[in-house]
Symmetry: none
Subunit: 226 residues, 2 copies
Amino acid sequence: MDGLKILVVDDESRMRKLVKDFLSKKNFQVLEAGDGEEAMDLFYKEKEIALIILDVMMPKMDGWEVCREIRKNSKVPIIMLTARGDERDELLGFDLGVDEYISKPFSPKILVARVEAILRRTGQDTAGDVLSAGGIVIDKAAHLATVDGSPMELSFKEFELLTYFLENQGIALSREKILNSVWNYDYFGDARTIDTHVKKLRSKMGEKGEYIRTVWGMGYKFEVDA
Amino acid sequence: MDGLKILVVDDESRMRKLVKDFLSKKNFQVLEAGDGEEAMDLFYKEKEIALIILDVMMPKMDGWEVCREIRKNSKVPIIMLTARGDERDELLGFDLGVDEYISKPFSPKILVARVEAILRRTGQDTAGDVLSAGGIVIDKAAHLATVDGSPMELSFKEFELLTYFLENQGIALSREKILNSVWNYDYFGDARTIDTHVKKLRSKMGEKGEYIRTVWGMGYKFEVDA
DNA sequence: CTCTTTTGTGAACAGATCAAAAAAAATCCC
DNA sequence: GGGATTTTTTTTGATCTGTTCACAAAAGAG
């Protein structure tokens, strides 16, 4: 994730810290608010908040009010933290436009997973997961590569190798460099292994196999017809 | 949702298609009408229409007239699509018995959420959020999963695993990721335990077990036939 | 043109990975 | 506590992949 901003609103600082720690590890930028009013302030002051995590129980302005306020102006995804098993809350919330519920106590991992799922669903972080060049498309998330729309059946290493080529278009790559990047750096084997993988890749890519060019005495280069 | 019928009335076919696409994904059965008269015809011909989405601006019979006509005989929920910020419309509409307004342009997600909210409110919907794909429907609230309408008898973990797959369609999921999400993150055991659960899931899903695909050297991926 | 070096290709081996089944452990329910 | 169900672990066999090797083909050097 590319440092998307997430606003965490909870009156317990311990809870905020817990959530923040886990989200930070995933490279999210976490903003904190201790009550509803503070949350609204932050929300309007900061731009481009990607998601809000909102505790229901708070002094002054509770979670529902904050949600209602925000929904007047924004469609930002909202996750509500509720007390366990309070289904009335959920019914109320869906009308308000809450995207997801997590009941306390929860596992932080679950929280992170939900956050990522929502961001994916709302299409905020899919960007950057797709590479393409000359009719070849690589979807890293799906671990799928296609040529002119039809999927190629690539093995794990083949997929990684092709991805590496796409990420370094137009650059001549020595075998050593490829080994260090696609294989583990402590790999001992023969550099000629690459040749075999290139061979298989080229054949699976059909005509477009030509895009992987041989750089004599050097290695390989991926390049779409100039 | 169990294929509840929704009638979409709008003179722009592009708009109808947009709405239809999103509602279809949620397993609603969508009927289309291009103008008010057609809408009335369909409404009387078809039985058990659960909800009507009505554009205000239409040739021949506009949305208000359609609404007035329908309210003579039926209390079916009606959602009106209005131009942004036209408050007079809303005042007029409430007298006519409009249940909800959505102003154009709107996010399809919001539309779907409102539709579900209204159906829930009017008790036509068994409630809960529902995931579905390729004939497989998961009702989280009811903790029930069905294939082509007939329920599968899943154990708790199997249900959670299938839910996780549905929530991450098209994404290759490593075993580690699955463990962290479906199992507690402090789970120590063998990642192979997933294999066993996948096996059982696949067998209980019958033909559609194929949707859970093996991504060699990686993990699994849920995908409806491309 | 000939020789040397580098790359392409097909086959074969070894090890990794997965599916299926069965056994063991944990959990639930009465 | 005992039996049934669910979950996890283990085992076994089958399949796929990565790697290597040997040789053929191609490229460059002199």
